[in-house]
């Protein structure tokens, strides 16, 4: 029997870490980190875990600490947000290329400036090319469930890549909601022990981690790292299937919500997917053929699967909660449109950048987007492709 609780997203992740009992947590103990290390440090202090908690002087050091621990053969975790993640960028690449399956809880918040502490995805989207796996969560339950699956995915011999479990800052991280927790014993059994094949301190086969890689070999290492990212898709599906057997909660690379026979659809990530589901429900109740796809895995990107799911939909709006400054749309849009290139029945597609710096996303915001998709179908042309939602003086769903 699962345990009925109510927890904030931060509490849920800290609780998952407690159940997992990792070897090391390296964390910067103040802002811009999250409440997660704060809650977790209480478990450490109370002796409820035997994790080595290393409070460091910066996020760069937090990740470096995790790299050292993981290279030595331990299981290392950290948590951060916003500018904290940005300060880790350099070492994120080191973790990924050294094939160290570190787990990072990312609470998505805007990157400065102007100074802002609220939710958007600019922090993790900025790290999308670092070689980390990225799973996104709609609510506290998914943040918890994804965290329980994280190490099984990251540490799998076909993958061996670090993983970032993302949830929306404040919107889910600080909101108390109901949650179903898994019993400690089941978590322990599911997550298992970390038994790396090779590690720094293995006396039968000592090795170096992170040395200089000369040009004649560098590219081969990059290709094998790229292959690991490709392999991750199947591993995510396998681990999720096993998780579903244990909990009854099913996860894929993305979730399709009322997509059967949908003529209009949105593609979205994170907490706003929940708000958008309500908009879809309301429109469906009026007989409108609308649906949504919520991406769970952004890295690896489910290119073929998403293309298949969107084939035949008449018009699609891809929602980006980060600007990207490409002058032609956000990162989710770029990937999604690429996934649809060459489809037999390619949808018309627009991009909305939305919800930046905590701009509230309402059911009406999403209904507004579906109305624009209707216009696009009616007119037979997309018009402006790269748009911004709920902006003064621009497109505003109004209140």
């Amino acid at each position: 029997m699962s345990i009925r609780e109510r927890l904030s997203g931060n509490e849920a992740v800290a609780f998952a870490f407690k159940q997992i009992n990792p070897d090391v947590m390296g964390a910067f103990p103040i802002t811009p980190s999250t409440e997660i290390p704060q809650y977790f440090s209480q478990y450490v202090n109370n002796g409820e875990v035997d994790t080595e908690f290393v409070p460091v002087e910066s996020e760069h050091s937090a990740m470096s600490c995790c790299i050292g621990a993981e290279a030595a053969g331990g299981r290392a975790v950290t948590a951060t947000s916003s500018a904290g993640l940005a300060l880790m960028y350099e070492v994120l690449y080191v973790a990924a290329s050294a094939r160290l399956p570190i787990t990072l809880a990312c609470v998505n918040r805007a990157l400065t400036g102007p100074i802002n502490i609220n939710n958007d995805h600019s922090d993790s989207m900025g790290a999308r090319d670092s070689g980390w796996l990225q799973l996104y969560s709609e609510n506290n339950q998914e943040a918890y469930d994804n965290m329980l699956m994280a190490m099984r995915i990251a540490e799998h011999p076909d993958v061996r890549l670090p993983i970032m479990i993302c949830q929306d800052g404040f919107i889910t991280s600080h909101a108390i909601e109901n949650i179903e927790l898994v019993e400690d014993e089941l978590v322990k059994k599911f997550v298992g022990e970390y038994e790396p094949q090779e590690y720094l301190l293995k006396k039968e086969n000592p090795l170096s981690v992170g040395p200089y890689d000369i040009s004649p070999y560098y590219m081969e290492h990059r290709v094998s790292q790229a292959q690991a990212m490709k392999n991750a898709k199947q591993v995510i599906l396998d681990v999720s299937a096993e998780f579903a057997k244990m909990t009854g909660r099913s996860y894929g690379l993305f979730e399709e919500f009322m997509m059967e026979d949908a003529e209009r659809a949105i593609v979205i990530i994170g907490s706003s997917a929940g708000t958008a589901k309500e908009a879809v429900r309301q429109l469906r109740a009026k007989g409108e053929k609308v649906g949504l796809i919520k991406l769970r895995a952004f890295r690896p990107f489910p290119m073929e699967e998403l293309g298949k799911a969107l084939n035949g939909v008449k018009a699609v709006a891809v929602m980006d909660k980060s600007e990207g400054f490409s002058a032609c749309g956000g990162p989710v849009f770029a990937e999604t449109r690429s996934a649809c290139y060459g489809l037999p029945e390619q949808p018309m597609m627009i991009n909305y950048v939305y919800g930046l710096g905590g701009r509230d996303v309402r059911v009406e915001s999403i209904q507004y987007v579906f109305e624009r998709l209707s216009e696009i179908i009616e007119n037979g042309t997309t018009g402006e492709v790269y748009r911004h939602l709920d902006v003064r003086g621009g497109e505003y769903s109004g209140l």
């Binding site: 889910t172 309402r362 209140l399």
Partner: protein, 192 residues
């Protein structure tokens, strides 16, 4: 869809409106409901107007936006009436609950023509008398439960007894005062 009750709290930073919203979520959760309790974060300063929210329902709510059309509005600091449009979007069949010793009809002129129920509770006075200090949280919580009928009153009182025992395990002397403040506010709230 199951009936959902949405509540918006207005307070000032440091007064505990956020804590009150989370306590209400706890209490509703303990009586079997699906709950959301969340604050709206801005530049955090003592005394600045802050907002917190609750959604309470028999089914899980997937919406993660702020609340624009609340069933109930709770004003923890009466001085906010002239600063914030507290009744904005408030449903006329709902109610506003204000921390004040005044009669509800005395405050109505400050509420931008709101036609629904206006309730007042002198949470400051109750708190000062029962706890010796101005902690308006507990009495406001009692008044919200009384006015909204969201949670069975007996169940609520029992649940709060348990919560206070847990919360104040290191200073049990304040448990009785909090319980008294809670029960008094449920009796003394005006405008029912």
């Amino acid at each position: 869809m199951a009936k959902m009750t949405e509540i918006r709290w207005h307070g000032r930073g440091g007064q505990g409106a956020k804590t009150a919203a989370l306590l209400l979520a706890d209490s509703a959760f303990n009586t079997g409901k699906y709950v959301q309790g969340f604050p709206e974060y801005g530049p955090e300063r003592m005394g600045a107007p802050i907002t917190a929210y609750n959604r309470i329902s028999d089914e899980r709510c997937t919406v993660h936006s702020n609340i624009y059309y609340p069933d109930y509005v709770v004003v923890v600091d009466v001085t906010l009436l002239s600063v914030v449009d507290v009744t904005k979007g408030l449903k006329p069949e709902g109610a506003i609950i204000i921390n004040s010793g005044k009669d509800p009809e005395e405050l109505r002129p400050l509420l931008n023509g709101y036609t629904g129920r206006v309730c007042t509770i002198d949470a400051g006075k109750i708190s000062t008398e029962e706890l010796g200090r101005n902690f308006p949280n507990t009495p406001m919580l009692g008044a919200v439960v009384k006015v909204s009928g969201l949670i069975d009153e007996e169940e609520f009182i029992e649940d709060m007894k348990g919560s206070f025992k847990h919360k104040f395990s290191t200073k049990p002397q304040v448990i009785e005062g909090n319980m008294k403040a809670l029960i008094r506010s449920m009796k003394e709230v005006k405008g029912l």
